[in-house]
Amino acid sequence: MRAVRAGVWTRERALLLLPAALLLAVVVVVPVLRVLMLSVNRVELEDGFRLHLAGIEPYLRLWLDGRWWTALRNTAVFTVSSVALEMTLGVAFALVLHRAFRGRGLARALVMLPWALPTAVMALAWAWIFNDSFGVANDLLRRLGLLPHPIAWLGQPVTAMLAMVVADVWKTTPFVALIALAGLQAIPEQVLEAARLDGLSAWQRFRRVTLPLLRPALLVAVAFRAVQAYGAFDLVYVMTGGGPGGSTETVSLYAFQNYFRYLDFGYGSAVATTGVLIVTALVLALVRLARPRAEAA
């Protein structure tokens, strides 16, 4: 049997790769190129969706579009606050689940549960939880004496965003916890043991040993979560529809509205393309950050 050498381009290898390459081309490359092409065109319903080359005009329109800037700001606020909360809670959950205790298997399964629910279903449930007259949130807070009168959570810009962040944190903290748990399990017990013998307190061990060793795993989690939160659509569509006053509209929702409601495929593509560019820049920045600093030394 011939040894397979890495990096050699044989005909069989090419043939074996072909189906995957074709699938990718059909479901990823072609649509992406088409969106790019549409984004530099005017495609309008008044003249039968014919293409008119418009160059950077759609992007100029974007620059002058207040609604787009609002959507961008909403998306940024949503992404930063939900991911920050998810990382903190996720690591905390992972630390607890990493310890040995009775019923740990069950606890791990339970923690994962929200992650397994379809987003649209849980968004609907959260919309009812935050309902002003029938919602559990108001009822609980009033029983606890924290609220003098019911709040229309989804009826005010700040509280609506807060409600969305809470729902997202509830759903996706398990994902962060899972990745962090995997990272924790990869840390050799001896390292922590050595730190303990050196007299480091629990907090110091976490801060100086666990966290730095967890870093690669956490950066993966942040990258995944940031991309997902940035593309948030179903949660917003179901919970608030982008309201009130456009205060929770995200970039994806705005792109969707342009495509499906206004049938403005050129502008919708410009919104989508800028969204992809921004998120790509975000991921590249995170990946740079992920490179261990020790490498340089």
Partner: protein
């Protein structure tokens, strides 16, 4: 990192499976569609309406041997059905011969070239039998694209028992409405006035009635003049803001309400006035309803010297440009818009018919005495502007209305911005048409 690679692999596997499942489902649908052969008419309906269309479809099949009528059950949400129709028509897919559409879709679908003009099939003397407002709503640039099947008009419901008990006549102006509501309310147990304040199409419907009551206009579909930065428009929005926060007769949550949230409060006996559609009447008169026999209905109140208005809604049928049997599609439309069919469709459901003569029909009136009242209130119907880019015009208005209602933005400033954006959008539409 190894773990990550595993995850990514399984993700792709799931995606592939989902794709295959999608393809399989698509093939299934196509086969089902092909089974009827050439003699098939298909339309997608809301799930709740489908049972009432079944007898109409069976009648049609009896009259046209060899023809099958496919009543496809769509999703409950209007937006989702619009998306499904849009996706299908964009792909020039012939699986729906008929488009069962809301009044507001007509201009967009017609401008996109997705609908067949129907004025040849329905000459003027035939169209004159339909309610005038519903008839107009089916026209786009002088051609007929949609035949009305059932209509809707915005109404103001009130608790007749409470008003009479306190010696009040039904109000006719906005100030009277606020005064009566304040006198009879006891918040948070009982609110004065509930309506639809969420950022969605319903908010635009409510606002249009108040706007017309103040003598204002939104967009004139003929001249494309925008009236949102006029003082009447600001006065109308200030009235809605006043209901929620200045003279609080509406619950704070009204800014999140759609039709059902507001109806529940009213039906539970927790509101004096309710702005809603005719379907509420039937639910309010059910045996187990605590407000049975205690309510009245009229059109929205108006400013002194203004006029009452109810936003026109309703559903009608258009013929898809990609239908393989437009002749059968037209025949089916003719069949469901006869008086006999309107009796079948509207008798049990309480829907308001589109045929004028149906409002004088003794069988229908016996089944639903409220029809007589709706028929008269239809005279106050006001249509949303029939422009091709209506969806964007509505979204612009919704956002700024909602910003004033929920976000505390001053009414005049919100509407100035809405007017500016609307004009910009109409300018782009004009430029596109000129090309």
């Amino acid at each position: 990192m190894h773990r990550l690679r595993l995850r990514r692999g399984s993700g792709l596997r799931i995606a592939t499976l989902a794709l295959l499942a999608g393809i399989a489902a698509g093939c299934g649908g196509a086969q089902e569609g092909g089974a009827g052969g050439a003699g098939r008419v298909a339309v997608m309906l809301p799930p709740g309406e489908r049972p009432f269309w079944m007898p109409l479809a069976r009648d049609f099949e009896r009259a046209h041997p060899g023809v099958t009528v496919d009543l496809i059950e769509g999703p409950q949400s209007t937006d989702l059905r619009e998306n499904l129709y849009t996706a299908s028509l964009l792909a020039r897919d012939p699986s729906f011969d008929l488009v069962y559409m809301d009044v507001t879709w007509t201009s967009k679908f017609a401008a996109a070239g997705w609908l067949r003009p129907l004025e040849g099939a329905f000459p003027p003397q035939e169209r004159d039998r339909w309610l005038p407002a519903a008839r107009e709503a089916g026209m786009f640039r002088g051609r007929l694209y949609r035949v009305p099947v059932r209509t809707d008009v915005g109404l103001l419901y009130y608790r007749r028992d409470w008003l009479e008990g306190a010696g009040y006549a039904p109000p006719s102006t906005f100030d009277e409405l606020v005064r009566v509501a304040r006198a009879l309310e006891d918040p948070p147990r009982r609110w004065g006035f509930v309506w639809q304040g969420k950022q969605y199409e319903g908010l635009v419907c409510d606002y249009l009635e108040v706007l017309t009551g103040f003598g204002g206009t939104w967009v004139d579909p003929a001249t494309l003049e925008v009236g949102l930065d006029r003082p009447q428009a600001a006065a109308a929005l200030e009235f809605l803001v006043r209901c929620r926060s200045v003279d609080p007769i509406s619950p704070p949550g009204v800014a999140t309400y759609q039709e059902e949230e507001s109806r529940r409060l009213f039906q539970d006996g927790r509101a004096v006035f309710l702005r809603n559609w005719p379907y509420v009447w039937r639910l309010a008169q059910r045996e187990d309803s605590p407000i049975r026999g205690k309510i009245g209905a009229m059109s929205m109140v108006h400013a002194p010297g203004g006029r009452s208005a109810g936003t026109l809604g309703g559903w009608g049928l258009g013929v898809s440009a990609y239908s393989r049997r437009p002749d059968l599609a037209v025949a089916f439309i003719r069949h469901v818009t006869t008086l006999e069919s309107q009796r079948v469709l509207c008798g049990e459901t309480g829907y308001a018919p589109a045929l004028i003569e149906a409002y004088r029909d003794s069988a229908l009136l016996a089944a639903n005495p409220f029809l007589d009242r709706i028929g008269r209130l239809h005279a106050n119907a006001v249509a949303r502007p029939g422009i091709a880019r209506y969806a964007l015009a509505s979204d612009i208005l919704q956002r700024h209305l909602s910003a004033a209602l929920a976000g505390g933005e001053p009414a005049a400033r919100a509407l100035r911005e809405a007017a500016r954006e609307t004009r910009l959008m109409l300018g782009r539409a004009g430029a596109a048409e000129a090309r």
